[in-house]
Symmetry: C2
Subunit: 663 residues, 2 copies
């Protein structure tokens, strides 16, 4: 229900449409068509359904609204301003897309209140929304629907639906019967190249139905029809797709309904026409007070619901637990648990694959931190991401702390981003390192947003053996280190694995990946350290600061470096071994620390991958002398240990390079 007359609602919608077209025109850049086409739908959603309070944008039980079609950013910016979110002014809209403005080309998480996630790369917001709905269902089941109970809405475009990631996300959403997920598809028949029919003739309703969704199609400009469809969707016991037939650039003249309205300013003539057809007599960026008042009322209407939620929280015996989960705070609980666990390992060393070591660490972590939410893209037994605390999260019982993501790496990563953004859970995944390629767009967005998602990436080198070069990562460590703000760990033994997990969990503003072996590795850390040496990314594992040569390695090659050190010592060469479980973190340290650890002599770096990300360390070695032991091309199919020999990644090779540098 709404208190606003149909006429007022249409003017509220026109405010979105005109602000959008005017801001794009002023910026001389942007996408006017989508906000104009979806203004009616958005007005209906926000005025009648969306549970939110603009004065408390982070209220945990707000409905989530995700603009998956992120190029239509002026829609969400207009809404943020109109609803009266603090910090959003008309000047922000006037500065759309300008350097230093919060109103970036595509909506960015943390810049504008009301923007729940960074979108733009198509399909990502759709995946995020599914993840938010999973987190909501999980928290609702765990903590009670009195304190967690909200919808997740997303506006998706044709592009979102064409991207493969949408299939991965929608099929899991259907399987998990995420009934509080409602997708509003901007069914406008237009993409950048022209009519959708240039490239697709899919019956999208049938496609969603095939994965168990409720589907319907409405005239997206008929607000009552849209409202009825949303009402029905709210009552559905499955996720819902509402195809909203809209006209892109609605209100414009020749450009309405065409690709010309999509991604460029409309121009003065079309804008004048649109003003007339939308019956909008106001100057650009001038919103008449009755319309603005109505919107501001909309922005405040959730205050009562929020108050009731506060009251319920005060009464709930799960409130403390839920609050702790929402805070995401793990630091102290983790330190105690991990440090106790490591002292056990020091007393009783273990030679295990680091993927197994990760499972052992997770057993401790999942006990200490009850709000982790694990999973794997159908490699549970290989990734070792399921522990005794985690049963499967299912449609029937969403309290489970483990998600069988299916063979859907990309969807998994996007959903995890949504979960982290929703809060109440810390998502971690399982996959092969090679398949990080499948989810790279979502990893990048996690890095851009600065959110804590942790990807367990096992089978991290040719050490995986017989599966061969299609499954052997070679360039992946370098390629993932290349993503700004994404942190790649590659621990060398059972102790470092636990420490890396701790560091990753403590980095609340950074996504990370943990590369883990299939093959067993000797425990090299046999003495209790003070604190967590992995926090600095790299440290001297063995040897003194005075040395002839420094051997630097990560993961499985640290053991080889240790053996090489012993071999060198026999020949009277003093070596230090530097373990670098996280090169990204190591390079974040100050110059003095780095210089101290690396020494001023020759350096040999060993990693069973390509050299690229190590070049800086190799070529800045003292006396200009650095060398690398690793891969120069793709791997091969064969037994892991034979492959290390075959590709010359051995302790003997490391020792030989060291001697060569010293000669």
């Amino acid at each position: 229900m709404t208190d606003f007359s149909p006429e007022l609602q249409k003017r509220m919608s026109a405010a979105i449409a005109t602000l959008s077209m005017d801001a794009v025109e002023q910026a001389n850049s942007g996408h006017p068509g989508m906000p104009m086409g979806m203004a009616d739908v958005a007005t209906t959603l926000f005025t009648r359904f969306l549970k939110f309070d603009a004065s408390a944008p982070n209220w945990p039980d707000r409905d989530r609204f995700v603009l998956s079609a992120g190029h239509g950013s002026m829609l969400i910016y207009s809404l943020s301003y109109l609803n009266g979110y603090q910090g959003m002014t008309i000047d922000d809209l006037k500065n759309f897309r300008q350097l230093g403005s919060k109103t970036a080309g595509h909506p960015e998480y943390g810049h504008v209140p009301g923007v729940e996630t960074t979108t733009g790369p198509l399909g990502q917001g759709f995946g995020n929304a599914v993840g938010m709905a999973i987190a909501e269902a999980h928290c609702r089941a765990r903590y009670g629907e009195d304190i967690c109970n909200h919808f997740t809405y997303t506006i998706a475009g044709d592009g979102c639906l064409m991207e493969g990631i949408s299939q991965e996300a929608l099929s899991l959403a259907g399987h998990l019967k995420l009934n509080k997920l409602i997708v509003l598809w901007d069914d406008n028949n237009i993409t950048i190249d022209g009519a959708v029919s240039l490239a697709d003739s899919t019956d999208q309703l049938k496609r969603f139905e095939a994965s168990g969704w409720d589907v319907t199609r409405v005239d997206g400009h008929d607000m009552e029809a849209v409202a009825k469809a949303i009402e029905a969707a709210q009552k559905s016991d499955t996720p819902s797709l509402i195809a909203c037939k809209t006209v892109i650039g609605k209100g414009a003249n020749k450009k309405a309904g065409t690709k010309s309205a999509h991604g460029a300013p409309l121009g003065a003539e079309e804008i004048a026409f649109a003003r007339t057809s939308l019956d909008w007599t106001h100057e650009p960026f001038d919103v008449p007070s009755d319309v603005l008042d109505a919107w501001r009322q909309t922005g405040q209407k959730g205050a009562a619901a929020r108050g009731e939620w506060d009251a319920r929280m005060a009464k709930s015996d799960k409130a403390a637990e839920y609050k702790k989960a929402l805070s995401g705070d793990v630091k102290e609980d983790l330190r105690n648990a991990i440090s106790q666990y490591i002292s056990g390992l020091i007393a009783d060393p273990k030679k295990v694959a680091t993927r197994k070591a990760s499972e052992m660490a997770l057993e401790v972590i999942n006990e200490a931190i009850p709000f982790t939410l694990g999973g794997s893209a159908d490699l549970t037994g290989s990734n070792n991401t399921k522990t005794s605390q985690t049963v499967a999260l299912t449609a029937e019982d969403p309290t489970g702390r483990y998600i069988h993501y299916g063979i859907r790496e990309h969807g998994m990563a996007a959903m995890m981003n949504g979960m982290a953004l929703h809060g109440g859970v810390i998502p971690y995944s399982g996959g092969f390192l090679i398949f990080s390629d499948y989810c790279r767009p979502s990893l990048r967005l996690a890095a851009l947003m600065g959110i804590r998602v942790i990807h367990v990436l096992t089978h991290d080198s040719i050490g995986l053996g017989e599966d061969g070069p299609t499954h052997q990562p070679v360039e992946h460590m370098s390629a993932l280190r290349a993503i700004p703000n994404f942190y790649m760990f590659r621990p060398c033994d059972v102790v470092e694995t636990a420490e890396c997990w701790e560091v990753a969990l403590n980095m609340t503003d950074k996504p990370s990946g943990i590369a883990l072996t299939r093959q067993n590795l000797t425990q090299l850390r046999t003495e209790m350290a003070e604190g967590n040496p992995c926090e600095k990314g790299g440290y001297i594992l063995s040897g003194g600061k005075k040395r002839d040569v420094t051997l630097i390695a990560s993961g499985s090659e640290v053991e080889l470096a240790m053996e090489a050190k012993t071999e060198l010592e026999k020949d009277g060469v003093t070596a230090a071994v530097v373990s670098v479980p996280c090169l990204d973190l190591f390079m974040d340290q100050d110059d003095a620390y780095i210089a101290d650890v690396l020494g001023d002599g020759p350096r040999v770096v060993a990693e069973a991958g390509i050299q690229q990300s190590w070049d800086r360390i190799i070529y800045t070695a003292g006396k200009g002398k650095g060398a690398f032991v690793g891969m120069t091309g793709f791997g091969a199919s064969g037994k892991g240990e034979e492959l290390f020999e075959h590709f010359g990644i051995t302790s003997a090779a490391i020792a030989a390079k060291a001697k060569e540098l010293l000669s």
Copy 2:
């Protein structure tokens, strides 16, 4: 029809199943379940339908068979051996998955005859098959169905169908009505984690139907039923999905129909049981002569069809044209056309964006090489990949040389791999550089296979401007250079753009990407060069070998380096500018050439991306002095030129760094 009795057919199938389980057992590694489950389907396909001649594995008009579920590699290896392909022996099967053997863990293109593409990463083969079917439809329409007319079959698993890439590929396949594409889905209800129902409840038939496919479901162990379904599919005027209900690991005892049969040796007990239940009394790797004879007959049965094709080729007036296209030979035609085009540019220089320069070059190329097949992932007007010669390839008229791929980057890249493998076309794409992340798994496979696909990747830096950091590549040049055998070009002006296109087209065994600007760039190459300087990846663009400092750059930053050189000269500093349109190729050159070009003095490298892939050049600079001007993190939303200022990527910054190094 088949001449083999039902009993013999079952034994032919059992030969596949037992060879597969025995080879996995011997290797103590591999996936027995899928070949055992699909042996009946494969036997039916190969004995009754597949048009091929084992003595001529590259016969252009053979039916294509793609094992998208590549982990079931023993299926295709068994078939290759049984059908009598030259070079495949029983010893190759015995050496399954061993170092140096051609029978790698997953099927690799070029290793085993009959393997049409490298598969393993799920969904890729499915995408390849769609691409092959597109190439076939295109060539059939262009050159006549007398000389091109064959089916493309693929076996896909549940994993292939869950991966998002399958949605991208199937929806385009349906849209283009690829009626000669037939997908045999190994509908065994099992994935690695267990039952498919753990993670999915999609009605796959309905999903495919939604995109215009013919669908049916059969008992995959009923050869007559399978045969009838394939017959019907061959007659369909749309692509066809045949869901083959199978039992994974069929024949085994407790493991049959369970995840235990998927990815590990069955063990002696289960194998003994399977021998009995398959009525197979022979020793491992022993195929009785009647079964082997029947298979060898199968391998030869296409000889007649091939003879008839030869006869039709001899008569066709399109044969010469088709042969030329199949040869893929472009070198001479290209040299003449490009060199003539460049002399025009020298006479009349052009300041254009390199994306526009690429369009101008393509105009020349598409005229000179009539078998290029372009396209874009819905960014035609931005990528500038459509030229006057290329009209859209549609279901109604597949002769078009331009594909509207839709918003499907990953599917596009996988389909292009399939087209290149099919032959008769040289595929090139269009997309934004940022979205190379979406198709990275397919780019990697192209590199592993060593095939010629060319990706036009526009909007290659912060220069794209207001679309902001979600769309601004920063780490992508480094991350793509990291892929072995993948060649990234980034030309600096209109001349280099044409030259890079020429080099990319001439590299028949390498995939490549061409990074192009949105913004205009001055033509820096104003004199006619001998040959193509871009062939060596980098060269001295301006200045002599004697110099105080070397300024090294790619793409849009070369212009800045040229300006910096002028600024430095005013202060009496001699600089040379090195343009590096392809760092990968440059590093392939011999040390002497590289040293000659880079000089022995200080170096400043400029690229509007991260530093990683340049570290080697920076830190090996003479006197240890190198510096970088580029990005250290994500971009921002704003006007392109303002962003270059904001992030300090300017000629002044380059000149300042140079002076700093010299001081």
